[in-house]
Symmetry: C2
């Protein structure tokens, strides 16, 4: 198979700066065949973490709130933006405490992903947190009024398959977490890498 080549950035034009939430660029790029494309859009948005927390009763911790992007009440795993210079795992641990008041026994990385294949954004870092235990009251500090739900794993799986989680990151993170929990060697598989805490 002949090797594919990257595109080359010729010039970047900042169209909109709403830092730290969003910057939009129009990039002039050169394709491998020499073709020039002007104004290819790029989104820069904060890196964030999404955590799928499992407690010792095999229940998944979830947040129910009005989400502006969905324009509806939605249920999702805890998630939040990474603060400046914060390692993703540390952000995940902070968000789990803030949103659910929980600490976890073990943390497993489920990978890092960009929001859009064309315009970029993020990335999102996913974690599975097992052996979760409530150690304090949740205090998210988010704009949204939030309710914490602990749902049995089979119910979460059923809702996920039925398309009831409405955000792309929720669907992606829950799918990976459910597969790791279902795999014969559980979360110790080479794919779901346990991370040092």
């Amino acid at each position: 198979m002949p090797e594919l080549e990257s595109w080359r950035t010729l010039k970047r034009n900042l169209l909109l700066d709403r830092s730290p939430w969003m910057r939009i660029y129009a990039d002039d790029v050169e394709l491998p065949d020499g073709q020039i494309v002007e104004g290819y859009l790029r989104l820069e948005s904060p890196s964030y973490v999404t955590i799928v927390p499992l407690d010792r009763k095999n229940r998944v911790g979830l947040i129910r709130s009005y989400k502006r992007g969905v324009d509806a009440i939605d249920i999702q795993p805890p998630a939040g933006i990474i603060e400046a210079a914060e390692p993703p795992l540390q952000a995940a641990q902070r968000e789990l405490i803030e949103e659910l008041g929980c600490s976890a026994e073990a943390w497993h990385s489920l990978g890092s992903y960009v929001l859009g294949g064309n315009f970029g954004g993020g990335p999102a870092h996913f974690f599975l947190a097992t052996g979760c235990e409530q150690i304090q009251a949740p205090d998210s500090g988010d704009l949204e009024e939030q309710q914490v739900l602990w749902l049995p794993l089979p119910e979460v799986r059923q809702r996920w398959l039925a398309g009831q989680f409405r955000q792309l990151a929720s669907v992606a993170a829950l799918g990976l977490a459910l597969a790791h929990l279902d795999s014969p060697d559980g979360t110790s598989s080479s794919a779901g890498v346990e991370v040092q805490t």
Copy 2:
């Protein structure tokens, strides 16, 4: 549990218009407690489809190309933007022909999802296409130079679990498709709704 309430839009300000690719709004909103938040960002981006195609040899059809949003060579299921007034299923069938030159025996809806819980975007409509068969040469018309790969289902599952698909939509759609194909009653489960073609 007390019922959660939606936010109310007071005013919309169009910050950036790069139609049909992207529009950015700053919305002034009123929260249920009466708090006013000014300039909450909203992304409007095209609806698109992502298709997970399975052939009769249990192989998944994938596209390998340089993706600008990832800034790397990436492998992903076929996907594309819905054209004006086109129903999502029809867009999925068109993209499967354009990108892989394939038609499918059966189509199963895997749900519709927004890109970002806060800023919105999309939605993305996911489909599983089974019994795929090549009927013509691929001709995507995309900017990217593309290679078509047909990988065995277990290898796709392994790559997915290992975090090798780099885009959020790929990870979400593959996860749902793999779960439907693994479920005891296969793709005829109530969750993976077969759709009329």
